[in-house]
Amino acid sequence: MSEPTPEQSAARKKLSTAMAMLLFTSHRLPGVRGYELRRRLGKNYLKVIESLNHRLEPLGLCVKILFETPGDRQPGEEDYDRARYFITLTDPLSLSDIVAAGWRIDDLAVLSAALALLYSRGGKAPRQELLEMLESKLPKWRVEAALERFSRRGYLVDAGDGVLSVGWRAVAEVDQKELIKAVANLSSVADGRQEQTT
C-alpha cells in the first residue's frame, strides 16, 4: 500500500477532528455550532461534514443540521454558521432497544403524548391541559416528574408562564410527521380488545 499523500493525511485529520467535535459534549449541550467547525476545519467545513456523512452512512449514523430559524427559504452561509450540528441515528431503534438502554415505557408514553399534542397545536399548548390529559393514564407525580426531566433534557420548553412548547432536542431527534402519523393511526385499547374477541 502506498503512503498517503499530505493532502490525504490532512483530509483524514480534518475528518477525525470533525468526528470528535460532533461526538464530544464540549458544553452543556451535545453537538457543535457551525462557526466552531469553521474555526477548526476552515471555510470548507461543510464539505468535510458532507464527506463525514458519507462515511457514517453505512454505520447507521448521519450528521444532522439544526438551523436556528427554520423556514422555507434556502439557508445561507450565515444560517449554516449559526446552525447546530449533531450526529444522530439514521433509523429508529426498536422499543425493546430503547427500554434496554434504560428508558421507562411510562416516560416514553409521556413524551410521545406531549409532543403529539404540541405538534398538533402548532408547537405549544397550556401545561395544565397536557397534565390533565396525561393524568388520565399515569399518576400525577410521575407525569410532573417526567415533564420536568424532559424540559431539562431539551425535549420540551417550560418558560414558566404555564405554556409548554417543543424543545430543540425534539426538533433534532423526533420526526414530527412520522410521530403525528403514528399517533393518528393508533387503535384504541377498546378497539384492540374488541378485535381480540372477534
Binding site: T88, E173, L179
Partner: protein
C-alpha cells in the same frame, strides 16, 4: 378623567387578549380583528392623552402579531401536516402506554454523543492537576488533602475492570458447571454458595452475567422460585425486564 381610565383599561384588556393568543397557541381566528380595530379607531379619535396613544400603538402592534399568527395558522391548516387536535387528543386518551411509546420509538432518531470520560482523559487531567503549583494552605484540612499517591491509586481503579471481567468469566464457568439436568441453577443457592459475606458480590456479578446475555433469570409465577439458565454464548433476548432482589441478613428474598 373617567373616560381616559376606561380607555386605558380597554386597551390593556385587548393587549392581554392578543398576548394570550400568541402564548397559548390557541386559534387566532377566535379574535375578532375587525371589531378590535374599530374599537381602536374610536379610542384614538377621542384620545388626547399621550399614555393612551402609546397604549393604542402597542395594541395595534399586538393585533398585527395576531394577524401574522392567523397567516401561519392558515398555512399550517393547508399543509399536509395538519391533523385535527381533537383527533390526536382522542387517540392519546384511548391508546395504551405501550402503543404511545411505540409511536415515539418509530419516529425517534436519538443524538449520538459521548459524555463519559476516558481513562486517557482522566490521566491527562491528573497530569495537569499535579503540575499545578502547590498553594500554601496552613489549615488543619491540609493533611486531609490527598497525596499524589492517592490520586495515582484512584486512577488505577480503572484497571480493576480487567479483574472484574476475570471474576465474571470464573463465575460464568461455575454457573455452567452447576447446571442440573434441565440446564438450570437455583438463584438463591448459587449466590449464597460462598457464605453471607460473599452473597452481595456474587449477586452483583451474576446481574452482570445476565445483562450480558450469558444467562437468563427465570421466575416461576406459581412457586415464586427463581432459577438461572446459563448459556455457553450470548443468547438473543425475546423481551427485556428488570427484577429486584432483596437480601435481608444474608437471606435472599426475591
Amino acid at each position: 378623567m373617567t373616560s381616559v381610565k376606561l380607555a386605558k383599561e380597554e386597551l390593556e384588556r385587548l393587549i392581554s387578549l392578543c398576548e394570550t393568543i400568541a402564548k397559548t397557541g390557541a386559534d387566532p381566528y377566535s379574535v375578532d380583528v375587525k371589531a378590535i380595530l374599530a374599537k381602536l379607531r374610536s379610542i384614538v379619535e377621542r384620545a388626547g392623552d399621550t399614555e393612551i396613544l402609546t397604549l393604542d400603538a402597542e395594541t395595534l402592534y399586538r393585533v398585527a402579531l395576531v394577524i401574522a399568527l392567523q397567516h401561519k395558522w392558515l398555512k399550517d391548516r393547508a399543509s399536509s401536516l395538519l391533523v385535527d387536535t381533537q383527533l390526536i387528543t382522542l387517540k392519546i386518551l384511548s391508546a395504551d402506554k405501550k402503543s404511545l411509546a411505540q409511536a415515539l420509538a418509530s419516529s425517534w432518531r436519538p443524538i449520538v454523543s459521548a459524555e463519559q470520560l476516558t481513562r486517557g482523559m482522566v490521566a491527562m487531567g491528573l497530569e495537569y492537576f499535579l503540575s499545578l503549583p502547590t498553594r500554601n494552605l496552613k489549615s488543619p484540612a491540609t493533611s486531609e488533602i490527598g497525596s499524589e499517591v492517592d490520586f495515582r491509586q484512584a486512577l488505577n481503579t480503572f484497571s480493576q475492570r480487567e479483574e472484574i471481567e476475570l471474576e465474571l468469566k470464573k463465575l460464568h464457568s461455575e454457573m455452567l458447571a452447576s447446571r442440573d439436568e434441565n440446564g438450570e441453577v437455583g438463584y438463591a443457592s448459587f449466590i449464597s454458595r460462598e457464605g453471607v459475606e460473599k452473597t452481595v458480590e456474587r449477586a452483583y456479578l451474576t446481574a452482570f452475567i445476565v445483562s450480558e446475555g450469558l444467562a437468563e433469570v427465570v421466575k416461576n409465577p406459581i412457586t415464586g422460585k427463581v432459577t438461572l439458565k446459563p448459556y455457553e454464548s450470548k443468547a438473543e433476548r425475546r423481551n427485556v425486564a428488570s427484577m429486584v432482589v432483596v437480601l435481608k441478613e444474608g437471606t435472599v428474598l426475591v
